[in-house]
């Protein structure tokens, strides 16, 4: 198994600021927008972005939630293992809101499909946008594309993109791991 660095800590920081600015450009003060991080791995990126928007760009109030998609996945009973759930924390309705879904890696698009279904349990959103740090292009199983992307990556099926966060793994780095 070998791994190479796709994004360093400095690059991630620059990308976070760019993504934050792109969000600001479209959502201004987030008065009718909400940000929702996907459990488990999208939550780190979502919280980071929230921090940048609040601290560096002084957006005062952004409704923020975490969404678990386990019960909406399309591979239930198809793998060997039971799918373990994480917690959902959304204490607002998305009815009529502009929703920004945040996940770390966009690969087949199946998690996002599940997230779109899961989100319907919280109302009918005005629109939904997708933000991902890594977009593994040419590997989609579904017609789903990000509206905001950190970096596009070409990776083959045998390779894995590993996103590490300071608060979890002790460093901000994105690796491409070959089996």
């Amino acid at each position: 198994m070998s791994q190479k660095v796709l994004l360093s800590s400095r690059e991630i920081d620059i990308i976070l600021h760019r993504l934050a600015c792109q969000l600001l450009e479209n959502h201004l003060d987030f008065s009718n927008s909400v940000m929702i991080g996907l459990q488990p791995r999208g939550t780190f990126l979502a919280k980071r972005l929230l921090g940048v928007l609040q601290n560096d760009y002084k957006v005062r109030h952004i409704p923020f939630g975490l969404l678990d998609i386990t019960f909406y996945r399309d591979d239930f009973r198809r793998g060997d293992k039971t799918l373990a759930a994480s917690s959902t924390q959304i204490d607002f309705l998305v009815e009529g809101k502009r929703v920004v879904l945040v996940d770390d890696v966009l690969y087949t698009g199946r998690s996002i499909r599940a997230a779109l279904t899961a989100l319907q349990s919280f109302g009918r959103p005005g629109e939904i946008e997708l933000l991902t740090l890594i977009d593994r292009r040419f590997s989609r199983h579904l017609p789903i594309q990000p509206d905001y992307r950190g970096r596009q990556v070409d990776a083959i099926k045998e390779e894995r993109v590993k996103v590490c966060w300071k608060e979890n793994e002790g460093e901000d780095t994105v690796y491409l791991v070959s089996q």
């Binding site: 019960f71 909406y72 239930f76 009973r77 039971t82 349990s121």
Partner: protein, 308 residues
């Protein structure tokens, strides 16, 4: 652990501690789902579940049915009163007939102890025991322990007394196994005639004085007198039972600390528990019912994930 160690839920005694933790953790997630505007997830949309009840039930059957529907499973209901069982069909035949209609899971209540275990050896579907005679009622015990955990933070180290008709109670036995596995101390309390012989061999205490039992405990689980299972007289009169083993507000208020009152239902108001106790803030009877749906969703979800 993210997987149950069993394919069927036949009784608590076949489970491991890690199974209980997994069920509770999954139930936490389903409780959150049940608080949403749309309380339904699509996980089991390709599965069919049969609720087969050879004995009367309101709460348990409704709770199971709701749990199944919230998980998007297709549900068929069957109660023995209106069925061919009356015409002499055997249990295996009845269930196999239902299974040939492509049913994946069977939730069964049966008056005979061990009916679920017997069935699990003879049919292909996953079996969930919804009460088998005076043997076990695992989902009730799970939701009881879950409700204690919710109210008191944890079950380990807590003192729980189960009061009433222990002899005929499947709730008592499943509760004893569950609470012990989670590290709680358990006592039973009731008339001598309704306490099974050798019950101490389960590692629990026996108390014949209700007041002493209540002073000892953190939680009191009040059981109903199961008149329908009594083939003889176990105590002189209902009034005498109530005087000795019924809980009322005066008794509750005379205790040094606030204990939690539970009841698996159906309540016989004025017999084992008075209305002012059942409806007091110390009672978590309705929380138990609410948690029942989340617990049953968790059990069904986790068992369903093992159906290939």
């Amino acid at each position: 652990m993210s997987e149950l160690s069993v394919r069927h839920l036949l009784g608590i005694k076949y489970l491991k501690r890690s199974d209980l933790d997994l069920i509770f953790e999954t139930a936490d997630h389903f409780k959150e789902v049940l608080a949403r505007p749309i309380k339904k997830v699509p996980s089991l949309r390709d599965l069919t579940i049969a609720n087969i009840f050879f004995e009367n039930s309101t709460r348990t059957r409704l709770s199971f049915e709701l749990a199944e529907k919230r998980l998007s499973a297709d549900v068929i209901n069957f109660s023995a009163a209106q069925s061919s069982v009356r015409k002499g069909e055997t249990l295996i035949d009845t269930v196999n007939n239902i299974l040939s209609m492509k049913v994946d899971m069977v939730v069964m209540r049966h008056p005979n102890p061990g009916a679920g275990i017997f069935l699990s050896n003879h049919v292909k579907a996953s079996i969930v025991n919804a009460g088998d005679g005076a043997h076990e009622h695992p989902t009730q015990a799970l939701l009881d322990a879950y409700s204690i955990r919710e109210r008191l933070g944890e079950v380990g180290g807590k003192k729980v007394v189960i009061v009433g008709d222990i002899l005929h109670s499947r709730v008592a036995l499943s509760n004893i196994f569950t609470l012990q596995m989670l590290g709680a101390e358990v006592k039973v309390c009731g008339p001598r005639t309704l306490i099974p012989k050798y019950v101490e061999s389960l590692g629990i205490g026996v108390e014949y004085d209700l007041k002493r039992a209540l002073q000892w405990c953190d939680v009191a689980n009040m059981l109903r007198i199961q008149n329908e299972r009594m083939d003889m007289s176990y105590f002189p009169t209902t009034r005498e039972y109530t005087r000795q083993f019924g809980i009322n507000k005066a008794l509750l208020d005379s205790l040094e600390r606030e204990i939690v009152i539970m009841h698996p239902g159906p309540i016989n108001r004025g017999v084992e528990i008075t209305s002012d106790v059942a409806d007091s803030s110390q009672s978590i009877i309705l929380n138990q019912v609410e948690n029942g749906v989340a617990i049953r969703m968790a059990v069904i979800y986790l068992l369903a994930s093992k159906i290939k």
